[in-house]
């Protein structure tokens, strides 16, 4: 291991994050029993099948190019079925490839805050996914980070690389067993989209009311590369803070993030995306739809920094308030450092318009049905850039998540 990295991590051990309330890492344990490896993904205990399905994971592996499952701090399944696709635990990948050190902590500084430091110092695997140059893996890879033991910390480091002119589609589900009352998930994810490559990343968070979550993600996109992220959070969570950064480093690099958040109970959610437009003609779009009900607090962020000629960035945030004891705080930021670029944002927060409910009632729906149709419509962002099958799958995940809250 790189001594310098470890030293930097050591020094950052007590470094509080800029955003989000401080989590007491030590409250959670790293001592947990190792789980047995599964021969097949559907060997997973009956008790957990629903938890996986809720996070968009298909235990039968149908229509998946590969599957990865990490339970607590053990990798219990990892298999790539598709030529041109590599999938394994990050720990194995580090052993296998010496060159991987060129990617570790290159998109995210290890001493960013105490959470990144913790992941370095007490890492528990994570996944390594790579598409070889030129291969189009159109069928999605599924990966799942699953927590089944109480009070643990899960510290994963994920590395995702799409080599030149390759295509990679990932469905990732973070889930927690319904039997777990509290846990901490720290996830570092570094994405590398090489020249002409494309990654779509569809993530469903299926946490519980006692789970604290601090993902740290960054994406580096080279010339003509495309990165599309879809994020869905509809189940309760205690506290979640994340602010992934997309570096559009190459010429015509493109990044899009779409986040759908339905915050309930006492959730504290501080989330958003940041795009740094460094490549000439690069483009970013940050779209979010957030709903707050009960006593939930949401901070919806979006930053676009334009630093290159002909760069274009747009932030769109819409919030819907369903309770007088909830809060939505929309914080968009645009920063331009030259003339020849174009940055914009639009934000709107409000309640459901009575007029819309009445209109739907005039077509025969009850008040409750009308409300549900409006909420569904509000969250319905047309996802572009996904292969047909994956778009359908994402829609299914979305519908399923929505079914649970409505």
């Amino acid at each position: 291991m790189n001594k310098e990295i470890i030293e930097r991590a050591q020094r950052a051990k007590a470094k509080k994050a800029l955003l989000g309330e401080d989590v007491d890492i030590e409250y959670y344990t790293t001592e947990t029993k190792e789980h047995d490896v599964l021969a097949s993904l559907d060997d997973i205990s009956e008790d957990y099948v629903q938890d996986l399905l809720d996070a968009g994971i298909e235990p039968s592996e149908k229509d998946r190019s590969g599957s990865f499952l990490q339970r607590d701090r053990s990798v219990v399944f990892s298999r790539a079925k598709y030529p041109g696709l590599e999938l394994m635990s990050t720990t194995d990948a580090i052993k296998k490839y010496d060159w991987l050190k060129e990617y570790l902590w290159k998109a995210i500084p290890v001493d960013m805050d105490k959470y990144t430091a913790e992941v370095e110092l007490a890492q528990s695997h994570g996944y390594f996914i790579r598409s070889e140059a030129g291969s189009k893996v159109t069928m999605p890879v599924q990966s799942c980070l699953f927590i089944t033991s109480d009070k643990i910390r899960q510290n994963v480091h994920n590395i995702i690389i799409a080599e030149e002119n390759s295509e990679l589609h990932i469905i990732t589900g973070c889930s927690v067993s319904h039997t777990v009352n509290s846990a901490l998930h720290l996830g570092v994810s570094e994405f590398y989209v090489k020249k002409g490559a494309k990654i779509t990343f569809t993530m469903v968070h299926n946490w519980g009311g006692g789970i604290e979550v601090r993902p740290r993600s960054a994406v580096v996109i080279e010339d003509d590369g495309v990165y599309i992220s879809n994020y869905i959070l509809m189940t309760p969570v205690k506290s979640l803070q994340m602010f992934p950064t997309m570096y559009c480093a190459g010429k015509n690099a493109r990044a899009t993030t779409q986040s759908i958040v339905y915050a309930t109970r006492n959730a504290m959610i501080d989330m958003g995306s940041r795009a740094v437009l460094r490549g000439e003609g690069s483009k970013a779009e940050i779209i979010s739809r957030v709903i707050a009900t009960d006593n939930a607090k949401i901070i919806a962020r979006g930053d676009v920094f334009g630093e290159a000629a002909y760069a274009k960035g747009h932030i769109e945030c819409r919030g819907l308030m369903l309770s007088d004891t909830a809060t939505i705080d929309s914080i968009p930021e645009l920063k331009a450092t030259r003339r020849d670029l174009e940055l914009s944002h639009e934000a709107a927060v409000g309640k459901i318009a009575e007029e819309e409910i009445q209109y739907l009632m005039a077509r025969g729906l009850s008040e409750d049905e009308a409300t549900s149709v409006i909420i569904r419509g509000f969250l319905n962002v047309d996802i572009t850039g996904l292969p047909d099958a994956l778009a359908k799958e994402t829609k299914k995940m979305f519908d399923m998540s929505l079914e649970k809250v409505m």
Binding site: E356, Y359, L360, M361, R363, G364, E367, I374, G377
Partner: protein
Amino acid sequence: MLEIIDLTVEVEGKEIIRDFNLYIERGEVHVLFGPNGCGKTTLLMTILGISAYKVKKGSITFNGVDITDFPTNERVKLGMGMSFQHPPEIRGVKLGDMVNIALGRKEEKIDESVIALAKRLNISVDFLNRDVNLGFSGGEVKRSEILQLLAQAPGFLMFDEPDSGVDVENIGLIGDLMNELLGRNEILSKRERSGLIITHSGVIMNYINPDRAHVMLNGRIACSGIPEEVARHIMKEGFERCVKLCGVLNEQGDN
């Protein structure tokens, strides 16, 4: 079919309709004229039970049921439908979804039966996939409203200015479909459906032959009569003068 007795309606604390009476027989179509702000739209919204329109006094009976306190969807179940003048935009809810809802179906697919209905209004599949009313032109709103009514097929139909903002090409189409929806193609004895049409300009009268016309002024029906005559008076003399003429005619009639 519809009987309104002694109705007084408030909107945001302001009285818009007072001591209003109207009776529409089964199979009859009435047309309602009146200047801006006289209470025409308020009347339609109140009949439909839209909650911002508060009934202070009087009653509305529909097919023998007192619906004065019914929520909108209950009235719709009993067979009412309306073409809105300014329907709201709903993001993420497609016109095709609205058609499915109007058809009373749960499924979300915009399938052949929806597409076939839309075709009758020159509405394309692309258009069915647009968020309802979002960026629709005046004429598109009218066609979208008629399409939803076509799916709903109610027994009593209200149209709030179906002719405003519609281009020459489509006004005939809308007129034809309104006739169909209102069952006007049936012979007199077989007409089952009824309607109430608001028109400001009277253009739609070139396509529809209503049975009776009313002029509304200051929240009341000021005069009623044979549609062609009422329309002629209004076009020639204006609303106020028409009402005065009406009064003279009625007095003569009384004598």
